[in-house]
Assembly symmetry: C2
Homo-oligomer: 397 residues x 2
């Protein structure tokens, strides 16, 4: 008898990172796996205070249904944040998302037909791969170096494979930590325009810079690159800067795409939580959000430096990686090993990371792995890396 589930879902696998979560709950486990913000960075008391101070009128409207696009107040707040990122947009160009992941899914739903080609950088964010796969897309991965996606053959590849979509995390990427330079951003957008492709730019990490800000988003180039206005979509999130729990993100897109995404969202969850929108708008408008960012940047910078130092100390030349300029991750490799095997031994030694195969559309290199410094202090990081190094020698090449 049929179980009614259609084949694409029967054959789907869950997020490899979410599947690892159960191990992170083992007592004493040091997890360098998930990109969960450190609890001490999330201003729970601040959020509690905001709710306590909402007026009866604000609170009453924060209990009710809202527009699919998002509340007027919160969209205005997000337009201001976007302005600071040189995105230069009007509140009406914004769709409030229930987390930026939803933006990937909505774009996949409104653009992709089964068999359509999507370009991604290698490595890339696994939940994006999953959304594109569930939409029936054919995924083609493009090589990258320490500056992110290599663009030299992008135009030629686009002519050959005619992708509808190019998905990028161009700033402090997940998992790579890499940042695409301005010149590559421009070239990528020009190639997209020439080849009738849309760039979906996923930007959850740009506020988390360590010493210098990243180049402006690709979306900010839509007026300077000729005819580019209909060729880029921008999504971002408050999960890494305020709290994942609120499930709030936003999308900027050309009008026809935004309208289609609104229709898809209306059918999906109607709108993002009105209460959470009111909380976030107030928290950002009263300045607490901006005041909190330097603390986040310092914490993550310290974590990244500690992680890199620990890798040098405990693994020396066996491990290769580049130091990230922001974000939550270090992308590294140990030549000649299978990091999935390493993870099994590591879990027994109570330390965790994410094996790199999860981040490739077509995995062929098992030597990569992702480390997150987001949830730990330097001592925890050092302990974790030490445990990983201890079991490394037992992994077969």
């Amino acid at each position: 008898m049929s179980d009614f589930v259609k084949s694409i879902f029967r054959n789907a696998v869950g997020s490899p990172i979410r599947e690892l979560k159960k191990y992170s709950e083992i007592p004493g486990m040091i997890s360098l796996a998930g990109g969960y913000p450190a609890p001490e960075l999330m201003d729970a008391q601040g959020v509690q205070q905001v709710v306590g101070n909402l007026s009866t009128k604000q609170l009453t409207s924060a209990m009710q249904y809202g527009g699919t696009e998002g509340s007027k107040e919160f969209r205005a707040t997000l337009a201001t944040i976007s302005q600071e990122r040189e995105l230069n947009c009007h509140p009406d160009e914004i769709l409030v998302l229930s987390g930026s992941q939803q933006g990937i899914d909505l774009v996949a739903r409104v653009i992709l037909e089964p068999g359509d080609v999507v370009f991604v950088e290698a490595p890339t964010y696994p939940a994006a791969l999953s959304a594109f796969r569930l939409a029936g897309a054919t995924i083609h991965q493009l090589p990258s170096d320490k500056d992110g996606m290599i663009v030299s053959s992008l135009d030629e590849e686009m002519r050959r494979l005619k992708p509808k979509l190019l998905y990028l995390v161009p700033t402090f990427g997940n998992p790579s930590g890499r940042t695409l330079p301005l010149e590559r951003r421009t070239l990528a957008l020009q190639a997209a325009v020439r080849n009738n492709c849309v760039i979906l730019e996923d930007d959850p990490y740009s506020e988390l810079w360590f010493s210098v800000k990243a180049p402006p988003p690709i979306y900010s180039l839509r007026h300077s690159v000729p005819n580019a206005q209909n060729h880029c979509i921008y999504i971002s999130s408050l999960s890494k800067t305020l709290a994942p729990a609120l499930r709030l993100g936003w999308m900027l897109a050309p009008p026809t795409l935004l309208r289609a995404a609104v229709l898809a969202k209306q059918s999906d969850d109607m709108h993002a939580s009105t209460l959470n929108q009111a909380i976030a708008a107030t928290y950002i408008d009263n300045g607490t959000f901006a005041d909190n960012l330097p603390r986040l940047r310092k914490f993550y910078k310290t974590g990244a430096e500690a992680l890199c130092q620990s890798l040098h100390t405990h693994m020396g030349s066996r491990v290769e990686f580049d130091e990230p300029g922001g974000g939550m991750f270090v992308w590294a490799r140990v030549d000649g090993i299978d990091t999935s095997q390493w993870l099994k031994r590591a879990i027994a030694a109570k330390a965790m990371f994410v094996p790199g195969v999860a981040f490739f559309a077509s995995p062929d290199d098992t030597s990569w792995f992702r480390l997150s410094f987001a949830s730990l202090d330097p001592d925890g990081i050092d302990q974790g890396i030490k445990r990983l190094s201890t079991v490394l020698d037992t992994v077969e090449a």
Copy 2:
């Protein structure tokens, strides 16, 4: 040049009810259109208090990412509520939704291939029609009478058209206000089992009974009807009983379907707001939720009676309708008129309702309309119906 939006979204229209929202904001408008809970019924202060009383530990975990299935605590809470509805389920059988609308969309995504047939009752909930259309389904509507969907020819129709899904709001239906008797529930489930069809039961209103509770949900019959366990899915919502703003609902489904829905949700919005789950779990567990329900029932019962009385008083025999036993709606008709034309004149006279065509998959009768008594007191309802009746005579037959 292409606008990148695929045809099914280019041709889609927004929710007819949401499109009416802008008129409801005209000063002095009396809206009998949207099914928005009355502000005085939503316990905003209670929610505020719950947030204020969350311990630091609760609050910290309520800021973080959560599991896609929903938090352990909230699923336990929902299992208890479900128990009271004779649904008899374990917390592990529950998927927490970001509003019950998401359940419709997830089911459509994991079951329906383009061209698959979906059965709905006529009239039915427009946002369900929209979700099925966006999934590329062919929708077939079944006739109903004052007891909801007529089941006498259901088996034959299922044999003929082989639907994958039958969507029902069997209790105090939207828009009909009708309730399917137990015998029809059983017969519908038997027909689904015989014809390899799944019933998607949408139940946002069952707590809002006026004098007597409705029969138990179809999902509660899954063990008593032979082989029925894989043939029903149940979704419900806290939007009508706690607050729409929290965007919280839940789904009960057989394991393979639930697993597929979890994968789809993971790719969509990852999980429902952790903060809102903590709020709702606490609010329900501390008894405030149950304490508040009698007040809701009384308010809506009073509204329904006032509405029916006002229809009698101001429109007499021109209007036909059945008095609902619960819920938020009266489904009515005026023979020989086009209620869309009537609405235009009504808006000019500052009163609103929803024309009935929105609730049919294949509209052929323009004489129906939906009235909601959810947001108004009896005086407001009477004023509204009076205004509608005043312009009724000017509508062409």
